[in-house]
């Protein structure tokens, strides 16, 4: 297959939420020696960004979001070993800890953030959802994580983000990690109020924020 077609087909597979096809195309990329980073950026990530755009425009709903995310996850699982190989200095990859706060089981958006960050060179530890504050802080301490991403999708759980920041202060870790927050009810203002270092409305914005706080140029 002509390698130039691959990213387009990969993008389409994510848009269609076709996990089998996405995995097939990821394997094809490896087998044909295609430019893996191009496949990721112009293919799979472009696909999930389009899913996000269609969601924002009220064309795609939760099922389409989930199917796109599943296809993305599966494709990335196939490509991950190759991506890691192409970055010889593993220790240099910035460690990010992610999770949805305690009492909140929403995780799709947060998982997408993880996928996009990982595809762009970050080392992501996703703690899942309904994560107690102490677990976040313990992981940050254990991994020496530079970025902690907290997600909350409910007005009743978003205060958990502030509590994790307080816990970091109590443990003397606040200055060692950048805290980014997100989730539907979360805003820039709320982020500032609780003392977070950044806020992102979606996975692509999260990538920009991560780079911004680390002082990198896009």
């Amino acid at each position: 297959m002509d390698a130039r077609d691959l990213p387009h087909e990969q993008r389409q597979a994510i848009l269609a939420g076709d996990t089998e096809r996405a995995v097939e195309l990821a394997r094809e990329a490896l087998a044909t020696g295609a430019d893996i980073l191009a496949c990721v950026d112009d293919g799979f990530v472009a696909g999930i960004r389009e899913v996000g755009r269609l969601w924002a425009e009220g064309e795609y709903f939760l099922p389409e979001l989930v199917q796109g995310a599943e296809a993305m996850k599966a494709a990335m699982a196939v490509l991950r070993p190759e991506l890691r190989k192409s970055e010889p200095e593993r220790e240099r990859r910035t460690r990010v800890v992610l999770g949805t706060v305690q009492g909140d089981i929403h995780d799709i958006g947060k998982s997408l953030v993880g996928t996009v960050l990982e595809a762009n060179g970050f080392d992501v530890v996703d703690l899942g959802s309904d994560v107690p504050g102490e677990v976040f802080v313990d992981q940050v301490a254990q991994d020496g994580a530079r970025i902690l991403g907290l997600s909350a999708l409910l007005t009743t759980t978003m205060s958990g983000q502030g509590r994790v920041i307080e816990l970091l202060k109590e443990r003397g870790l606040r200055d060692d990690v950048f805290v980014l927050v997100g989730g539907a009810p979360v805003t820039h203002r709320f982020a500032a109020e609780i003392g977070a270092d950044g806020y992102a409305a979606n996975a692509m914005a999260a990538l920009d924020e991560a780079r911004r706080v680390l002082g990198e140029e896009r």
Partner: protein, 302 residues
Amino acid sequence: MSADLAQLWGRSPVLLDGGMVTALIARGFTGGGSPELWNVERPDDVLAVHAGYLEAGSVVIQTNTFGGNGLALLGHGLASEMEALNHAAACIARRAIEQHGQGGRLVAGNLGPSGSFLPPVGDADPGELTEAFSAQAAALAAGGVDYLAIETMTDVEEALCALHGARRATDLPVTVCLTFEKGPRGFFTMMGNPLEDTARTLADAGADAVGANCSIGSETLLEACPLLVAASPVPVVVKPNAGLPELEDGQPLYRQAPRDFARDMAAMARLGARAVGGCCGTDEHFIAALASELAADAGRSE
């Protein structure tokens, strides 16, 4: 075929009640636990909520069983108490009506979401869902409810499981409300079910009434109401929230004034809604304000 809902409901529009969990929070309930537990641990408080609504003019009071599905109770370690909690809820509502003393009041058995999602969002099994709803419906019927009110459904497929489950368990009338959001392309559930299509689907599947509750305020639901009325071959139920909540000290606060809610609901009744009530954030003041508006309308049309 089920008993005649129109006969039960009497004159149009029928006044439903307001939020239950909102009222329990005012009485000390804190999020995280199961409100249904109050049916056995604090029945007097639940009774007081019903009494408040009956006093305010509600013709229908709804059981405190929103999270009473066996699958939903699993998360609180209360699955084994499903029958007891639902039965108790129905009995409390019946007692409230008895004590209130006025005729023609009804108990609606509330069936809320199971908390499990059907594929592709989750891995729930439709057969298991239907069975859980059926068991809950049976417990409510045994407790003496007059009809069943399926509510706050975000997926028409789950709503159909609930409807089939209810029909399997009893001959009582069943109303079905989904929760819609207004997006750039119109009103859809979180799973992407369009408003008009779902109304027709549920009516075709045997719902005695269909409608919308929760998620949105009365101003927004007022926009959806004519669409619902036009699309639905069966009577329409509308139960919005008291506006959209604002977060204060970690608690959601609903700031809509009862009179604004009442004005919108009365407008929906004039547009053809058959049953009107309130969801999260509404209380007896909202229902009382609505009762006044409806009485004024009735007076005007004589």
